[in-house]
């Protein structure tokens, strides 16, 4: 850190601040860290490892499907692989990686020192890690789920899926849900109550808005999947309840309703943060304030609201009341309006700004192109007569990969390049970045575009092989080749990240001349983020000349003091002291994990989880020594 003398506007004792906010040294410090940057980085890194695993599984599937009657994978193995692929990508990669970006960036963007509940944050990460290890650990001991990432009963029920694979799947959901819910709670409070003075609602950066809406969606959607996976499925399997057992009054469709009540919002939970990233990248790179800020915010909120009314469109084939078709189609179409507004606002921003083209912008263009295509097939699927043909075929596979890879992964990669200097303190190599973009872009389209065609020709999803002579051979081969181009692009992406992290050019605080507060912090930021908390006077905080902005003084530096502000206009309300690093979140997570993992074998382990968890929580909340008493 540069000494205070060269930073003319620092009114803080940096040494004291650093000592107060740093994690403890050594392994103990690593395990007990509650710093949002460290935990955010851990989330992102762990999620990328799961992305590699999920991608590897995808390659296995593509190899198996490259030609008809292939015997590369057996039927059983293929079912396990696609189950793991879907589960990994949805629960262990896509949601956690967005959470990680949020945990890292939100406190910086709103101008505070940490998330609202730092220990909860650490606990959430450990639960996520434990969930991932649990699923793959079970797989290692041949308890591999094979009923799909959706695990519809009765197929996933006790009768048709003996063994422990599905139980492992169901309990893994609990781990990741707990983690996602923890993050949602702390981000909501961080964004609503810990913003820098002056950052009124209409000045919150778009990325923070997207994380806020996403967090609320998590709060309302994730309990549903816990009901579906734990209460319905796991209890039916291990305790003998009858929620989805038609023989005793249960109903398999109940599971589908509840699962999709979660499952549809889940798509937006993944996708909304990506929209926020696109807005951030575009604002900085077009060097103009993002066009249509209120419209963008409202369409995010609208997206979040409408997403909860669409779950039925995953169930058209189950035989819905005829009279409802018009309603269901109309609502499903409606979600296209909010997405359309976003796209138009970005185009307007591009049109009237002065664009600087970097790798991040490449990914944004790739996103717009792919996502618009995915949106169009989405509109097609909203039509019930069409959906009844395309449902559960490769057309749908193509559609949601266009929406999820195009709509979430490309912006994520763009954001990764954009914020790389902030994460690591080094610039990422542009040439390799563009190369990886083009490979990913071409490979993606080569892989997934033919799948539209395959679906039209009647190739259903989740088949481990197909008979020759149906006209599916060539398109499948093309898709497999495309998958390898994606692999190449991905490898270059990784190589670039590793290489730039070690030997890239040193990054300044604000290499892109960005508009939001994170660029005022160091690259990478000091443990306390800002020497003095900033004061915000406009929507594009950093583009306001320094002379027009104030900084906050008067927060104590010798303890972890933060500023709590009002929701509406971020008027400072009171100060608050945050807890110190602690091993208890890890221990609590460990206790819960042991119990939850054991519970797939016997109910008794829930009591173990409760007792260990309770002991952990008591330790967590026990008054510190020395006691923090205020004067």
């Amino acid at each position: 850190m540069t000494p205070a003398a060269t930073e003319p506007h620092v009114y803080a004792d940096l040494d004291v601040l650093r000592q107060t906010w740093s994690s403890k040294p050594g392994l103990f410090g690593w395990l007990s860290s509650i710093n949002h940057q460290e935990i955010g980085r851990r989330y992102i890194l762990t999620a990328f490892i799961f992305l590699l695993l999920g991608g590897f599984e995808a390659l296995l599937m593509r190899l198996q499907l490259a030609k008809p009657e292939n015997t590369f994978l057996s039927a059983g193995r293929y079912n396990q692989v696609f189950t793991l692929h879907g589960t990994t990508m949805m629960f262990l990669f896509a949601v956690p990686v967005m959470e990680g970006m949020g945990i890292y960036l939100v406190p910086l963007m709103v101008g505070t020192r940490n998330v609202a509940f730092p220990r909860l944050n650490a606990f959430g990460y450990w639960m996520y890690l434990a969930g991932g290890l649990f699923l793959y650990g079970c797989a290692f001991f041949n308890m591999v789920p094979d009923a799909g990432w959706f695990s519809y009963p009765p197929l996933s029920g006790p009768q048709f899926s003996p063994g422990k694979g599905v139980d492992a799947w169901a309990q893994m959901i609990t781990f990741t849900e707990i983690s996602a819910l923890c993050v949602a709670v702390e981000l909501v409070v961080t964004i609503l109550r810990m913003r820098a003075p002056g950052m009124s609602l209409n000045r919150i950066p778009m990325f923070c808005w997207s994380m806020l809406v996403q967090s609320f969606m998590i709060i309302f959607a994730m309990p549903a999947v816990m009901i579906a996976s734990t209460v319905f499925l796991l209890n039916d399997r291990t305790l003998g309840t009858h929620f989805v057992n038609p023989a005793e009054g249960g109903n398999p469709l109940l599971y589908q309703h509840v699962f999709w009540f979660f499952g549809h919002p889940e798509v937006y939970i993944i996708f909304l943060p990506a929209l926020g990233m696109v807005s951030s990248i575009l604002e900085t790179h077009t060097r103009r304030q993002i066009f249509g800020y209120p419209a963008l915010v409202l369409s995010l909120v609208g997206n979040g609201l409408i997403a909860f009314g669409l779950w039925v469109h995953h169930m058209f084939a189950t035989g819905l009341p005829q009279i409802g078709e018009a309603y269901f189609t109309a609502t499903s179409m409606m979600i296209a309006i909010t997405s359309g507004v976003q796209i138009f606002c970005w185009l307007a921003t591009l049109w009237s700004g002065r664009l600087r083209v970097t790798t991040a912008v490449h990914f944004v263009f790739g996103f717009i192109f792919i996502f618009v295509m995915g949106g169009m097939t989405g509109v097609m699927l909203a039509s019930i007569p069409l959906d009844l043909q395309a449902h559960d075929t490769f057309f749908v596979v193509a559609h949601f990969h266009y929406v999820l890879i195009g709509g979430a992964l490309f912006p994520l990669f763009g954001g990764f390049h954009y914020w790389f200097p902030k994460f690591t303190g080094r610039m990422i190599d542009e040439r390799l970045g563009r190369l990886s973009f083009w490979l990913l872009f071409v490979g993606f389209n080569a892989t997934f575009f033919p799948m539209h065609w395959l679906g039209m020709l009647g190739m259903t999803r989740r088949v481990y092989t197909y008979v020759p002579g149906l006209g599916w051979d060539r398109a499948n081969m093309a898709a497999t080749i495309g998958a390898f181009i994606i692999l190449l692009g991905g490898l270059i992406f990784i190589a670039n990240a590793l290489r730039s992290r070690g030997s890239g050019a040193r990054a300044e605080n604000d290499p892109w001349e960005g508009s939001t507060l994170e660029w005022e912090a160091g690259s990478p930021p000091a443990p306390y983020n800002f020497p003095n908390l900033p004061v915000v006077t406009s929507r594009t905080a950093l583009w306001t000349p320094v002379a027009e902005r104030s900084i906050v003084v008067g927060l104590r530096e010798d303890r972890r003091e933060i500023l709590i502000s009002n929701v509406l206009d971020a008027e400072p309300h009171h100060r608050s002291v945050q807890p110190r690093p602690s091993l208890w979140p890890l221990l609590t997570a460990f206790g819960f994990s042991i119990g939850l993992a054991g519970s797939i074998f016997a109910f008794f382990w829930y009591y173990v989880a409760s007792v260990l968890g309770m002991i952990g929580l008591i330790g967590w909340f026990w008054p510190n020594r020395p006691l923090e008493v205020d004067p």
Partner: protein, 285 residues
């Protein structure tokens, strides 16, 4: 558009950032109009598509099989299809498997059910999907306007051999359909030669009868597909193999090799008995 946009902006000289950060009020107003118009057009297009979609749905459901039409009960099972032609006259109820014959130009009612997990009944060229759900029947209808053979497949993941759960719909003119129906209603043909007679004995002696039925013989089990007119079907093992003697031999000898996980048991048959058995089954036309 995007890439031309990109070029346009790259060629422009840099201006001072302060002037760029905030577009002028006039530009903003123009952009606002443009975005509003674009959104309006989107809404109109979506509205149009909704109307089109709904009217297509109406047209589709308008040709739904009227009450009293030919009703076929389709029951999904792990990994084959049980087909039952319903009839008020119990003697004209027909049970068969993996192949549906229908008369051309008539709307046929399908009543879907499942004996185990959720399957989905789908003939891409004739109709959309309908899930088959244990414990609650679902309804669908089919109509073929031209004679022909249409492939159908299970469209809901249903376990290990979901990939090998196909069937064929064969649409024929009404008279040929009726002839087929009458023929199918008859019990199995008496073996015509010594070889087939031996084959029937093999069948009835072996474990085959624990699962399969051949009307007119002692075999009446309902666990696996009904084989009364097996020889007349296009495929073996729910669309997995073409129905030839060679394929049948391979299938009986080692079903797990051809369709791993299938519930068809490997029944030990002496090599000398295999040929008669095959000849017998293939003679069941």
């Amino acid at each position: 558009t995007l890439f031309s946009l990109r070029r346009r902006h790259r060629s422009l000289p840099q201006e001072t950032l302060e002037r760029l950060h905030q577009a002028s009020a006039g530009t903003e107003a123009k952009l606002r109009t443009a975005v509003a118009i674009a959104t309006g057009i989107t809404v109109l297009i979506l509205f149009g598509l909704t109307v089109v979609s709904i009217s297509v749905g109406k047209i589709v459901s308008a040709s739904m099989a009227p009450a009293g039409s030919l009703t076929i009960e389709v029951t999904g099972a792990q990994w084959w299809w049980k087909i039952r032609y319903a009839n008020d006259d119990p003697s004209r109820i027909l049970q068969t498997a993996n192949e549906i014959h229908i008369p051309v130009g008539q709307s046929i009612a399908i009543r879907g059910n499942s004996g185990d997990v959720i399957h989905s009944f789908w003939v891409p060229s004739l109709q959309g999907k309908r899930d088959l759900i244990p414990g609650q029947p679902t309804y669908e209808w089919l109509q073929a306007d031209r004679p022909g053979e249409y492939r159908g497949q299970c469209a809901e993941f249903c376990g290990l051999q979901h990939a090998h759960m196909a069937f064929w719909v064969i649409a024929e003119p009404a008279d040929r359909f009726n002839a087929w129906m009458d023929h199918q209603l008859e019990p199995a043909m008496e073996p015509a030669d010594e070889q087939s007679r031996r084959g029937r004995e093999v069948f009835l002696k072996a474990a085959c009868v624990l699962c399969h039925a051949i009307r007119g013989t002692g075999a009446g089990a309902q666990i696996g597909p009904d084989l009364t007119h097996f020889g007349s079907r296009k495929t073996i093992a729910a669309g997995t193999l073409v129905n030839t003697k060679g394929n049948l031999a391979g299938w009986i000898a080692d079903p797990q090799n051809i369709k791993p996980g299938t519930h068809m048991a490997t029944v030990p048959i002496q090599p000398a008995e295999m040929q008669p058995l095959i000849d017998y089954l293939e003679s069941l036309r």
